[in-house]
């Protein structure tokens, strides 16, 4: 019964995630771009703009200008997370594809990066008076949620193992909308519940900021003079 409820919630959460993100980005794109406000010096060509966006998206260039500690912590966290997201693709396939093997091999380091990165960000939020001043409860909670997801995941992998094939069956069921029971494992349930919260919060919070970078007119407009 609980399995079914969780599986159903996951299916609904995925719809909510995609729909919610599309809705928010839709609001952004529907807003008129009345006057050009690129932050200059801005690229003069379209390919230059693509380059600028890539630097911001993949190297966090502006953040690097601002504060090297935050920049490093953010890079560790985001790339670790990306790595782990790729590792989780294993649950999409019934048999393990070979391209995932190196990712899985180093997933421990990726988890470490995520936890260290997030901890630095959390410490900064707690300790730097300026950042503390602008933080709302949700800002701390986002970080703590992500840390607990990473920690619970690491525990599942290293301390309290779970049958990965059965987890895969469960998740594939979620995607196919034909639900199968979960392995009987309390740690797994905790991990999945935390991720569920993340999926629910994502489209209605600042977590959508990655897309915001691309849509920001200061970054994506050309210098046309």
């Amino acid at each position: 019964m609980f399995d079914l409820a969780l599986a159903l919630s996951y299916s609904l959460a995925l719809v909510w995630l995609v729909g919610g993100c599309a809705y928010r980005v839709g609001i952004w794109l529907k807003a008129r771009n009345s006057l050009p406000i690129p932050l200059t010096p801005a690229p003069r060509t379209r390919s230059g703009v693509v380059m600028r966006l890539c630097l911001e998206l993949f190297a966090f260039r502006s953040l690097a200008r601002a504060d090297k500690t935050t920049w490093l912590a953010s890079l560790l966290f985001h790339y670790g997370l990306l790595w782990l997201a790729i590792v989780h693709l294993r649950f999409v396939f019934t048999s393990l594809p070979t391209f995932l093997i190196p990712f899985i091999q180093y997933s421990g380091w990726a988890t470490l990066c995520v936890i260290v990165g997030l901890s630095v960000l959390l410490l900064r939020r707690l300790l730097v008076d300026r950042v503390r001043y602008v933080s709302a409860p949700s800002d701390y909670l986002h970080l703590m949620l992500l840390i607990s997801i990473a920690v619970s995941g690491a525990l599942l992998k290293r301390v309290w193992p779970v049958n990965l094939f059965e987890v895969g069956e469960f998740l594939r069921g979620v995607f196919r909308v034909s639900w199968v029971p979960l392995p009987d494992h309390a740690g797994l349930v905790v991990h999945l519940l935390l991720v569920l919260v993340l999926l629910l919060v994502f489209p209605i919070s600042k977590l959508l900021h990655g897309v915001g970078v691309i849509v920001s007119p200061t970054f994506n407009q050309r210098d046309r003079g």
Binding site: L29, S34, R65, Y133, P217
Partner: protein, 495 residues
């Protein structure tokens, strides 16, 4: 109780350190609100309207739909804190509401309360707030402690432009009856008379004639400064401060020498006798359109084929980035010069073409440093080349003076610090803010004064020039001459 005004020549600070936040440090600093008469003149309600709350929220809703940047910025901030130590007003005052993100949050918290799911249902959790009277006061105060300089944007990983937020905030405030006296009065005057000073045509003729006489006496040349001359090819639009204020007027003299030597048929216009467009600062797009249109209309009436803007930072941003959209194109201009040009672009072009010659030895003894103005550095371009807004003025300086010293790289070019008086804050009632906000610039300047004996601080913005010459003495830098770039060009030019 803290002092509300800074005594003359008090040394405010020396070293660039990040202050510990000091809540309420600038809470008693508020610029005068517009009188009912001025509000009415610019088509706004004379005093706070009865249903101000609903009007404000609905105005915010409209702006969110009209300005994509604003809409995205409201959602995409992660409170990462990268911008918190980048604003000169925070560095100079320590007031946490002068941290860019905190300034945005004044608007964002209300946005969240009224326009987001999380803010409607869990306001405490996400820091959403109702727009009440105290909040309204904070809006007014702290949206008038931002010079819309966009330095914070340079460091924001989401590209969030606090100036867009400030402009939206000021627009909303003005629309419910609380505009800023200083800026709204200027907008009223420019609409009424054609320039921010309210100088009518006869006065303008007088000023230009006197100026022509001075230059003629000085140089032995027969100089005439044309006004509303329909036979001219080029319309010159300068900030009106250039007509009389020091050190601005010496820059204007330099410009006139350049135009004279190059043999250009130029004219000033009595209708468009002002480059500045304060509606950029107040966020009122309709007013900005009208003020920009005035220049375009004058240019067409005079039948010129080129428009050249004088040394004015925000006027250049409007001309370079917005005017095209605002006035609907420039098909009447020479296809070789299809947009308004900056006087530095013109002088640079003349220099490269050999139509003017500059002799740097005529500025012997001057050690100069260049203050990049925000709106030029981060809001426009120059010369049709990447980073042209940094390259072109420096090339002109290099040709005009023997020695240029750069200030530290976190205080120049794209990362330049505001003079502390931009964005509609150049008013006496904000003097304390202006002095404190100039601190980072003063520190960068002090460093090159100490290391290289810099004697002149060069700017290409009327606001920067006025502000810096007024506040540098408070930072013990009164000996440094604030100078127009074209004054040095004018000294160096071979007549």
């Amino acid at each position: 109780m803290k002092e509300s005004s800074v005594p003359a020549a008090q040394v405010v600070g020396r070293y660039r350190v990040i202050p510990i936040i000091q809540e309420q440090a600038m809470a008693n600093i508020s610029t005068a609100k517009a009188t009912p008469a001025i509000q009415h003149e610019v088509g706004l309600p004379g005093a706070l309207v009865a249903d101000w709350h609903d009007k404000a929220i609905s105005r915010l809703g409209t702006l969110l739909k009209e300005r994509r940047g604003l809409q995205v910025f409201m959602d995409s901030c992660t409170k990462c804190g990268a911008c918190t130590d980048k604003c000169h007003y925070f560095l100079g005052t320590g007031d946490p509401l002068n941290m860019p993100v905190a300034r945005q949050d004044l608007l964002r918290s209300v946005y969240r309360r009224h326009f987001t799911f999380a803010g409607k249902w869990f306001p405490k959790l996400v820091g959403a707030r109702e727009l009440d009277k105290p909040m309204l006061e904070d809006w007014y105060r702290y949206f008038h402690q931002c010079s819309e300089c966009r330095r914070c944007t340079v460091f924001c990983p989401k590209g969030i432009d606090t100036s867009e937020v400030t402009m939206a905030g000021r627009d909303i405030l003005a629309s419910i009856g609380i505009g800023q006296q200083y800026s709204q009065e200027i907008i009223a005057k420019v609409n009424r008379v054609g320039n921010n000073l309210g100088m009518k045509k006869p006065a303008l003729i007088d000023v230009l004639d006197n100026l022509a006489e001075d230059i003629s006496d000085d140089t032995g040349l027969a100089i005439r400064i044309p006004l509303d001359d329909a036979s001219a090819d080029m319309l010159i639009v300068t900030p009106s401060a250039d007509f009389f204020a020091e050190p601005h007027v010496d820059g204007l003299i330099g410009m006139i020498k350049v135009l004279h030597v190059a043999g250009i048929r130029y004219t000033f216009s009595s209708q468009a006798s002002e480059a500045a467009n304060f509606a950029l600062f107040t966020g009122q797009r309709d007013q900005m359109q009208g003020i920009a249109q005035r220049i375009s209309t004058a240019a067409q009436a005079l039948g010129v084929s080129r428009i050249v803007m004088g040394e004015c930072g925000h006027a250049w941003r409007v001309a370079y980035s917005f005017m095209d959209t605002l006035v609907g194109g420039f098909d009447y201009l020479d296809p070789e010069h299809p947009r308004p040009e900056h006087i530095c672009e013109l002088t640079y072009e003349l220099l490269k073409a050999g139509r003017i010659q500059l002799d740097p030895t005529r500025n012997d003894g001057k050690v100069v440093t260049f203050h990049d103005s925000c709106n030029v550095a981060r809001g426009s371009g120059m010369g049709g080349i990447r980073r042209g807004q940094f390259i072109v003025p420096r090339a002109l300086l290099k040709a005009s003076v023997p020695e240029i010293i750069e200030m530290s790289s976190d205080a120049t070019m794209q990362k330049t610090f505001c003079c502390g008086g931009g964005g509609g804050l150049l008013t006496d009632d904000l003097m304390e803010l202006r002095i404190k906000g100039a601190l980072p610039r003063a520190q960068a300047l002090q460093a090159v004064v100490d290391s290289h004996g810099v004697t002149h601080l060069v700017a290409i913005c009327a606001i920067c020039k006025t502000q810096l010459s007024q506040v540098l003495p408070h930072h013990n830098l009164g000996d440094v001459q604030v100078t127009s770039l074209h004054e040095l060009v004018g000294n160096a030019i071979i007549l």
